[in-house]
């Protein structure tokens, strides 16, 4: 009863204040309430003044029905590349420097489309599974959702992530350099469950996956991967796939390069050999210095990047900062991340946020006291196979400068004595 009285008293007091201030604002001042308050109290919404948003009711529920970020976060958006002549066969970058934790919000997951984003009616979408199987099958979306469901948190990285950085530092922010990277909880059915329904024949070694977009995007997938941890998913982070992520159905191949994870998935053809599609011959192959090209380089190797502080940030003053970043490996779990503040001469082991999941983004953190001088920040990931993230020079020594994809080298951010941070090669 005492509480009720207290609450009632608060409401009455607020209503009184609102009425009084409102009357004052309308009658004698051209300023809004907040500015009137600021003028009369000298401090606006800051202490000791009570902020304006505390003195009145906020927006009701369903404002809007599908929630949106605060208007003060409107700078946290995907950004486009300037490397493509069209906007439909193009890509956009995830703002990793503005995110926290390891899950990428669905509206910020990077995009890579080869023929634009199709607008697919799920009731008219089918998945065909045929080729070297006992019984070719067609599933509609309702049937696919009735199969036993699995969810996995897994990273998604374009094999072209960081590709502009081979020869010289070009990206200003971590969004520019590493933004073709995201991580979601994906939900769907195991591909092996669908394959079992069709009955894969013994000689089958590959599966062609095809999308329903205007590129009818295709990649050949090894059967071994299909039977291991491949998923056919209809949801990301709890909701239906976003259209730009393959709605209503896509393939997820944990740890593999992004373009193999066919979006708007409509067909799977089982065969004894790869199909040598345009993507797996002319595009997603790695040209070596001798003129040969590596093909079917599916796995994204261990990599990490410091997201705070990173390129484009400015440290306002000397003192404590927590160095934060992300590490990941297509071969399994991250076991260790080391951080250097002197360009790789000395390293300290960072703390990993647990539980560490395989083929998922893993957050690392290290307390740091900036003394105000020059610093070179780097991170180095090690995965459960013992693979150590290499320097850029070590990669170039083996692969030259024309392989384009799979640049997983250590990234360096230079902190200048005025606190400005930029992308450098050391």
């Amino acid at each position: 009863m005492a509480n009720n009285n207290h609450t009632d008293g608060q409401i009455e007091r607020r209503q009184f204040l609102k009425r009084t201030l409102g009357a004052v604002g309308v009658a004698s001042l051209p300023l809004p309430i907040s500015q009137a308050l600021a003028a009369s109290n000298g401090g606006g919404n800051l202490a000791p003044n009570v902020p304006e948003w505390t003195l009145t009711q906020g927006e009701p529920i369903l404002s809007p029905p599908y929630g949106q970020p605060s208007r003060f976060e409107d700078g946290v958006v995907r950004t486009p590349t300037d490397l493509t002549p069209t906007k439909t066969s193009s890509w956009s970058f995830t703002p990793l420097q503005d995110l926290n934790g390891t899950i990428t919000p669905n509206g910020l997951v990077f995009e890579r489309h080869h023929g634009g984003v199709p607008d697919i009616d799920p009731e008219q979408h089918q998945l065909m599974l045929h080729g070297m199987v006992e019984k070719p099958m067609i599933f509609d979306m309702a049937e696919i959702k009735r199969f036993p469901q699995v969810s996995m948190k897994r990273f998604l990285e374009c094999s072209g992530n960081t590709l502009t950085e081979w020869k010289q530092p070009t990206g200003k922010t971590v969004q520019d350099t590493h933004g073709l990277l995201s991580c979601c909880e994906w939900t769907g059915v195991r591909l092996s469950t669908l394959l079992r329904a069709a009955g894969v024949r013994d000689k089958a070694k590959w599966i062609l996956a095809e999308g329903a977009d205007a590129a009818a995007m295709t990649r050949s997938i090894p059967m071994e991967k299909a039977l291991d941890d491949a998923l056919v998913v209809y949801a990301q982070n709890g909701e239906a796939l976003r259209p730009e992520q393959g709605y209503p159905l896509r393939l997820i191949l944990p740890g593999f390069e992004g373009n193999t994870q066919i979006k708007w998935l409509r067909r799977l053809e089982v065969s004894d050999a790869p199909y040598m599609t345009r993507e797996e011959t002319s595009k997603y192959t790695d040209l070596m210095p001798d003129g040969s090209a590596r093909q079917f380089t599916f796995v994204m190797e261990a990599k990490s990047v410091i997201t705070f502080p990173s390129g484009g940030h400015t440290l306002p003053e000397k003192g404590f900062y927590e160095i934060r970043g992300l590490a990941w490996s297509g071969r399994g779990k991250i076991t260790q991340v080391d951080v250097s503040t002197d360009g790789g001469r000395n390293w300290t082991q960072a703390k990993l946020e647990g539980p560490v999941e395989p083929k998922a983004l893993t957050a690392f953190r290290l307390p740091w006291r900036w003394k105000g001088g020059h610093a070179l920040l780097q991170s180095r990931a090690i995965d459960e196979t013992g693979y150590v993230q290499p320097t850029l020079q070590a990669l170039i020594d083996v692969r030259g400068l024309n392989s384009v994809y799979h640049l997983n080298a250590i990234q360096t951010w230079e902190v200048s004595s005025d606190g400005g941070i930029s992308n450098v090669h050391v």
Partner: protein
């Protein structure tokens, strides 16, 4: 007693169903018909399996190219703002490699497959088999891979040997860099 047995029997008919073991046949989906498969099965692997009837010549392909491809790839296949299709031979081991159909693509079947599934860009899957054979022949001719009088069909296309057929390495040889996790007084990047 009779009443109890009767209600159990009734429950088993209209009741909550059975808990299934894992990996059972879920009975979901249906068998795809031949007609359905034919409608969607558009891929053409290096064996040429799936190539349709029809044919097209280099000269017919020049007309298709000029009507459908020139605005993106240029009159010569080298000068449009989209992918370069022609030239680049002998550049793959150089400092500025040029990857084209002629210099890089290992299989001619891929050209048929890709043109059919995704070209022309603004109207994919709109060309007839004859037109696709023809424009494939023309692009191969621009690259000096087939003669001017060539006509391609399901039999001849898979037999074309592309210059870079043997230029691809499999399986993936990575990990190819053996880095060390030095912790103090280490040698830096360069």
């Amino acid at each position: 007693m009779y009443k109890t047995i009767a209600s159990i029997a009734l429950l088993s008919l209209v009741g909550p169903g059975m808990v299934m073991a894992q990996n059972e046949d879920y009975g979901l989906g249906r068998e795809a018909t031949d007609k359905e498969i034919v409608g969607w099965n558009i891929d053409v692997p290096p064996s040429g399996e799936g190539l349709p009837d029809g044919s097209g010549s280099v000269s017919e392909g020049k007309e298709v190219y000029q009507a459908q491809c020139l605005s993106c790839h240029g009159a010569d296949g080298k000068s449009g703002q989209m992918d370069r299709l022609v030239g680049g031979n002998g550049t793959l081991a150089s400092g500025s490699p040029t990857k084209t159909v002629g210099s890089y693509w290992p299989y001619a079947t891929t050209l048929y497959d890709y043109v059919h599934r995704a070209m022309p860009f603004h109207s994919p899957q709109s060309l007839s088999p004859d037109e696709i054979y023809a424009v494939t022949a023309y692009v191969l001719h621009l690259n000096g891979i087939v003669e001017e009088g060539t006509t391609l069909d399901a039999d001849s296309l898979p037999k074309i040997k592309m210059p870079n057929r043997d230029g691809f390495v499999r399986p993936d040889p990575r990990p190819d860099v053996d880095a060390e996790a030095c912790m103090s007084d280490c040698k830096t990047g360069k």
